[in-house]
Symmetry: C2
Subunit: 455 residues, 2 copies
């Protein structure tokens, strides 16, 4: 009975034109769930290729594989856009231990941060000074830091409901921690992994030395959350304990790689471009299934779903699989640079780079008029349990396109589990649920469809 | 900037009294996320006790453990409510294979359905007739069914967004399939597991023979979804293949067990009772972490969170851990029966029995006036990403309380992954995410708080 009432309400409240929308959107979701392809593509990308750090052989394999998949979809054009990317290599597995007294040691799991220098060949051993953040360095001063390893141990704030906020509140320790500690004479840094769980996985991620001369750069690593708790507890008992770590990571010269691009030509406004994308590179510890294999296959699915459901876009719709989001953003910058050079008019860009979890909505960077238009579509999303439409950060790869008339958007999946896996060895295919992934793709395709039709 | 605007909007749109509500609700969520207990309780229930089928030793251990935990919370009263429950035992692991020609066999994973009779001691081998549902039996008629094993193979409908709807559309095959097939002379039934994934886990669950005399009851088992696909494919190639299965399950006499109950006495209306609960029993293949260990510890958390945040309920608030939801509902029936006997006035009941996943909202069985009141609280839930307030089925254990003035509610978590685990060997603790579980508990406590204060 109530269902019937709801149906009547929908029919009367929104126009007949939108009944066509309801049909089109249902076709998109049905196809995504009953005739899924993205999940299979992700299986290949994750299990047959694996981690895809920029400049690696796997990254090149991923370029070839996704191009082949796009070729098979019967798009109007598929191509590779060359881009030079940094090549940082982890080397042999890192080793670290806490030494309470000479010879008495406890191993802890660490990983070098992306971009870090190696330790001396024999490793590095020093006293540890624990801080809750960069601000504390000044208070301590050079005297208490010089010659020591700085241990950044401010945890992610667990009572923030959206976990990306908690990440945003901590990641400065990872990104800038070594650069800042080096200025006070530290010999290395260890950062607590950006992980809301207590477990044994160190979480990688990029860091930067800024303008620091090479001679002053100090090695930086992440320690698992359990390892951080252990180290912190041991330091409380005895501030004189030593920490040892060894890493052999190395920066090579830039190498050529590619953004992978496919498009459906617009039927009315072929010169107006809408893009949907994710980033093809990943960290190297896991297989990059959530970050961002998910976003890549979802973006590829968007074009397939629109084609398969018979929708002919008015504008040109492109999928862009960006290279090197993780440690350089060269792909995103290159794409925007080329678009500007060719005077291409981009009116919409959507990125999926927050994991392949149940979609909840989108964030938008746009003006109020566009946001009002978008909010008017909410009733069309509600049957698919999509409720969140908020202004906010869209996506790293598409932000270089920011400008006058473009709407930037990011898919907002449920974020509770994301940082259990983010940049860690357990960012793997078996932690992606097929339905959640495919619902994300359908939700993205729906937004692209509405944007194409109504903006 | 936008955050500030939103804040101003909330302040102006809802009354000052509700600012107190905002504070209380934030305290509930903060405590649930920063000082979690439910997750640790679930770890014990799952890992130290395990599967808790009614009448089993583990079920009794779970009664003792949860009573001890409730005792430790400083509630006003904690007690056990005796209830006689059925005791069905699986026996040794089931065996099944498909025989294409004599001697050529392929093993497939099955499990006996709860309440099923065993096969003959040496097992049962027969031809197979595949159907998509009970309705097909009549069309086929006794002639095509007699002496055969009926194989129910209607899959869950993957394009339904809420997976419980897909479950509702299939579960008749499991529950009534054997009873109906027996009427046409079938010798056994095999049902495709209620699982939206293709995998190797058979999913248990209850079945009934209704009024069928014992002599006519036939053994019933579930087959994994991969097994169902294989069997169906082989039958398409050769309808003459045989299916063999053996199960040694057995029904014993009813045994005494308990509902576990704890309460905080109401300060203004101690005679008005509000309950929150889950069911303590589980199927035996996994450890019952999602179904329904999660609901139990969340319900226990509700009382702890209210107490810890200093809230003094106006009404009496009870946690009830029901025994025997899975194969009898004896606990739920007993609780309602005793409440009636004692003339207790129940005005609200909330059950969590849909898994420990990210909470999305609630379903309600109530009148329109109460529903309007509940909907007025939506803005208070939105900061916690709780959007779904819909009329619908509440929970099996609390429905026997249905009556004049009671509001029945069910927690509605994200349902995408639930049937990957439901009643199967992989319903285990490691598939429960701490944040998702604790957010569910906080969301329940918030509803209980608002109900107590405003209804």
């Amino acid at each position: 009975m109530r269902k019937l009432l709801l149906f009547v309400f929908l029919i009367s409240a929104i126009s007949v034109a939108q009944t066509d929308d309801e049909k089109q959107i249902k076709a998109i979701y049905d196809t995504a769930l009953l005739d899924a392809k993205g999940y299979d593509w992700l299986a290949y990308l994750s299990n047959q290729i694996g981690g895809r750090l920029s400049g690696s052989l796997n990254a090149e394999r991923a370029v070839q594989y996704t191009k082949e998949r796009l070729d098979s979809l019967g798009l109007d054009k598929v191509w590779l856009q060359p881009v030079m990317v940094p090549k940082w290599v982890r080397g042999i597995s890192e080793v670290a231990y806490i030494e309470t007294t000479p010879g008495k040691t406890t191993n802890v799991p660490i990983c070098a941060l992306g971009g870090s220098t190696p330790t001396p060949a024999g490793g590095l051993k020093a006293q540890v000074v624990e801080v809750k953040g960069i601000e504390e360095l000044k208070k301590l001063g050079r005297e208490k830091i010089e010659g020591k390893i700085v241990f950044y141990n401010r945890p992610m704030q667990a009572n923030l409901i959206q976990t990306f906020e908690a990440y945003g509140g901590c990641v400065d320790q990872r990104y800038a921690g070594a650069m800042e500690a080096a200025k006070f004479g530290a010999v290395g840094t260890i950062v607590r992994s950006m992980n809301l769980r207590l477990d044994d996985n160190p979480h990688a991620g990029s860091m930067s030395y800024g303008d620091l001369p090479e001679s002053q750069r100090i090695p930086a690593a992440a320690i698992s959350t359990n390892g951080a708790e252990l180290l912190s507890g041991m330091l409380a008992l005895n501030p004189d304990i030593r920490f040892y770590f060894k890493q052999t990571c190395r920066q090579f010269k830039d190498v050529r790689s590619y953004n992978v691009i496919g498009e459906i030509k617009g039927s009315e406004h072929p010169d107006e471009v809408m893009i949907v994308g994710g980033h093809l590179d990943s960290w190297d510890l896991g297989d990059g299934a959530h970050d961002d294999g998910a976003g890549c296959v979802q973006s590829m699915e968007v074009l397939r779903l629109l084609k398969k459901t018979g929708y002919k876009p008015r504008r040109t719709i492109r999928v862009v699989l960006f290279m090197n989001e993780e440690n350089g953003l060269r792909g995103g910058n290159k794409y925007a640079e080329e678009a500007k050079k060719k005077n291409e008019k981009h009116i919409f860009a959507l990125e999926s780079d927050a994991g392949g979890f149940t979609p909840r909505g989108f964030t938008f960077e746009c003006n109020d008029q566009d946001f009002a238009l978008i909010e008017s579509w909410k009733p069309l999303f509600e049957p698919y349990l999509i409720h969140l439409f908020q202004k906010g950060y869209s996506g790293a790869d598409i932000r270089p396109l920011a400008g006058n008339d473009i709407v930037l958007a990011g898919l907002l999946p449920d974020s509770q589990r994301y940082f259990d896996h983010h940049h860690a060895a357990n960012d793997t295919f078996e932690h992606v649920n097929k339905r959640e992934l495919q619902l994300g793709a359908a939700t993205m395709a729906t937004l692209v469809y509405l944007m194409d039709k109504y903006r």
